[in-house]
């Protein structure tokens, strides 16, 4: 994505649907790859989500879908490959080396870059995580190719078979579609939970292509001294929450945010907020829902005093049911919510809390 163009002197002209011929050397690049990210023996779920999306792209292009696993020699790396097959991969490129025990930029950049140069994929997808973003930027610079960050939609342009990657722009007020025409591979990152988790198919398997890393520890400058795992109890877990109650600027004052907490408590829900509230310190950053915060896919999302700007919308529109409370009947959130109540969040929220409490009490009596 253009990082400097917004403040540059001349506005960038949209390229439109201009005709172009792909350089013959680049036409040899075939196949869709997904980098399988793992840490402490666990694959990040974003990798499976990307395989689901990669499957669609590969089918559209009529090419194979591959997982890329860089890890230590042994059963664990092999099991990651097996799991990648079950999530849609046709094959896996496997690079096994003791040096790949912990994620480090240098050996992983070398490994992934070597694989790309040797096996030439046309599309390479990575999770927009602290690991994927660290790696993607380095690999794209080494390969001198285009990288589109934090995509919310991936498609194949039927005219030229190129990857059309859509992402929010201008602070999340608009969307833009970005293409990488005469460079390969076309790289993109996608944030966790943006894409749906594909069905796992136990019967699927695939082939493994092995490739050596070919460097020694002495040549790697950065050393991992320690890994301190997070205490998960301390952190809000919005990404996988089934119910989320979120508040925005419409709550007017920080003192009113307790109304969100009260409803969440009754529902056993997680609490979310928009970016301005986090920036103003009403709630901690881990609760921010939206393009620069968390992407969520709950079964129920209650948005109170949230206008529904693109920046927030892309983080929560995959929710099954969305209830929107806003005093402005023209607020964009009503364009994509399931149910809307036009009114003052400060009076609607307590009423909703009470209605849910009564519903639950009745259900308990009946059940």
């Amino acid at each position: 994505m253009s990082d400097a163009n917004e403040t540059s002197q001349a506005p960038k002209k949209p390229a439109g649907r201009r005709k172009f011929e792909l350089d013959p050397a680049l036409a040899a690049y075939k196949g869709v790859w997904v980098f399988i990210e793992h840490e402490r023996g666990k694959v990040h779920t974003v990798s499976w989500e990307l395989l689901g999306e990669g499957r669609k792209l590969a089918d559209k292009l009529g090419v194979e879908l591959a997982g890329v696993v860089l890890g230590t020699p042994g059963d664990m790396s092999r099991s990651f490959c097996a799991e990648a097959f079950r999530h849609g991969a046709d094959l896996c490129y496997l690079m096994e080396d003791e040096l790949l025990k912990d994620y480090r930029n240098e050996p992983f950049t070398k490994g992934l870059t070597d694989l790309v140069n040797r096996y030439q994929p046309e599309i390479l997808l990575l999770g927009a995580t602290t690991q994927g973003r660290d790696l993607a930027g380095s690999v794209a610079t080494t390969l001198q190719t285009g990288l589109t960050a934090d995509c919310t939609e991936l498609a194949i342009d039927p005219e030229n078979r190129s990857l059309a990657a859509t992402r929010p722009t201008f602070g999340g007020s608009l969307l833009c579609t970005i293409v990488t025409l005469n460079y390969r591979p076309q790289m993109a990152t996608v944030r966790p939970r943006v894409m749906a988790m594909p069905e796992r198919d136990e019967s699927r398997s695939g082939r493994i292509v092995e490739h050596p890393l070919g460097i020694v520890e002495a040549s790697i400058i950065t050393k991992v001294l320690e890994f301190i795992p997070d205490n998960l109890q301390d952190k809000p877990q919005l990404a996988f929450a089934d119910i989320i109650v979120a508040g925005g600027r419409g709550l007017k004052k920080p003192e009113n945010f307790h109304l969100i907490w009260e409803l969440a408590k009754v529902l056993g829900a997680e609490v979310g907020a928009t970016r301005p509230l986090v920036q103003d310190g009403w709630v901690e950053a881990d609760r921010q829902v939206g393009q620069s915060g968390k992407t969520v896919r709950p079964k129920l999302y209650i948005a109170a005093g949230i206008s529904g700007a693109v920046q927030h919308r892309v983080g929560m529109e995959a929710s099954d049911v969305i209830i929107a409370i806003n005093s402005d009947p023209n607020a964009p959130i009503f364009d994509f919510a399931t149910y809307g109540i036009v009114g003052n969040a400060m009076t609607i929220l307590p009423a909703l809390t009470e209605a849910f409490r009564q519903h639950l009490a009745t259900a308990k009596l009946a059940g």
Partner: protein, 281 residues
């Protein structure tokens, strides 16, 4: 010790509005600020300077107006400021931006060796988080992203120890200088500008470099030409064809609205009954 901090002037995205009819960006009156993530990096660099001595140079690429962002950085305590500005840079994507900035840092090195480069974790307008890693790669520096703290810096052995946010935990890394660091938000707060530094910022003779000043060797690697990614279209999200069902009651009292909503929702989405019962228990 010499640290270069890369900063960017960005529109305050919280204040960007889209025209409701034409769906175009209304840029008028949107204030320009220093990318908030860059301030965490600048503060961390200034703290290292306070502790170990040395110099902090701030570097920015952008239009001439970006001068304001650099003066702001001087007012916080940076020693030098360089603005890289040239029409050839217009339309640069992250690859072309990292090319230009890396080239400028090489020019800075000619006057005084650079031990560390600090960059924001990401910008609030592009949000890509790619320029930092790109600069590190081009300058062959060790890359340390999402750093939450710097527990040790040993200038004699040129070694740095950092805590880095990883997925599911914190990595403690030790590496050699030179390195490029991006700093995680929320672990420090930008200091207040002192009166003396504010005066200094106002009078500071900013260095302004065009493409030659920045030592650009290959002009085809800058601007639109040097950018592999192309914006093919910009658009407003389409409204769903089915809009929200607005809950309406005769009284429109909060209580009636809430009860009506629940009744409707549980009829149309019976699975939510189970879900809510489950979570609430």
């Amino acid at each position: 010790m010499h640290i270069v901090v890369c900063i960017k002037q960005v529109p305050d995205s919280a204040q960007i509005r889209v025209h409701p009819v034409t769906n175009t960006i209304m840029r008028q009156g949107v204030p320009a600020i220093v990318n908030p993530y860059d301030l965490y990096s600048l503060e961390e660099a200034l703290r290292l300077k306070d502790k170990y001595g040395g110099r902090v140079t701030v570097l920015s690429m952008g239009p001439p107006q970006a001068e304001a962002a650099l003066r702001k950085a001087i007012s916080f305590g940076a020693d030098d400021a360089i603005l890289v500005t040239d029409r050839v840079f217009a339309g640069s994507d992250t690859l072309a931006t990292s090319y230009a900035l890396a080239s400028a840092i090489r020019q800075i090195q000619k006057d005084m060796p650079v031990d560390m480069v600090f960059a924001g974790k990401q910008t609030i307008d592009g949000d890509t988080a790619q320029v930092g890693p790109g600069i590190a790669k081009r300058l062959d520096m060790q890359l340390l992203t999402y750093v939450s703290s710097i527990p040790a810096l040993d200038m004699e052995n040129r070694e740095i120890t950092v805590e880095r946010r990883a997925e599911g935990g914190v990595q403690v890394l030790r590496t050699k200088l030179p390195c490029l660091v991006t700093v995680l938000e929320g672990n420090n707060e930008m200091r207040f500008a002192t009166m003396a530094n504010m005066f200094r910022a106002a009078r500071y003779p900013l260095k302004v470099w065009d493409k030659d000043g920045a030592g650009i060797e290959d002009i085809t690697k800058t601007g639109l030409k040097g950018s592999p990614t192309i914006v093919s279209k910009v658009f407003a999200p389409t409204a769903k064809t089915v809009k929200a069902e607005i809950i309406d009651t005769e009284s429109n009292q909060p209580k009636d609205l809430a009860v009506t909503l629940l009744a409707k929702m549980f009829t149309q989405h019976p699975q939510l009954q189970r879900e809510i019962g489950k979570s609430a228990n």
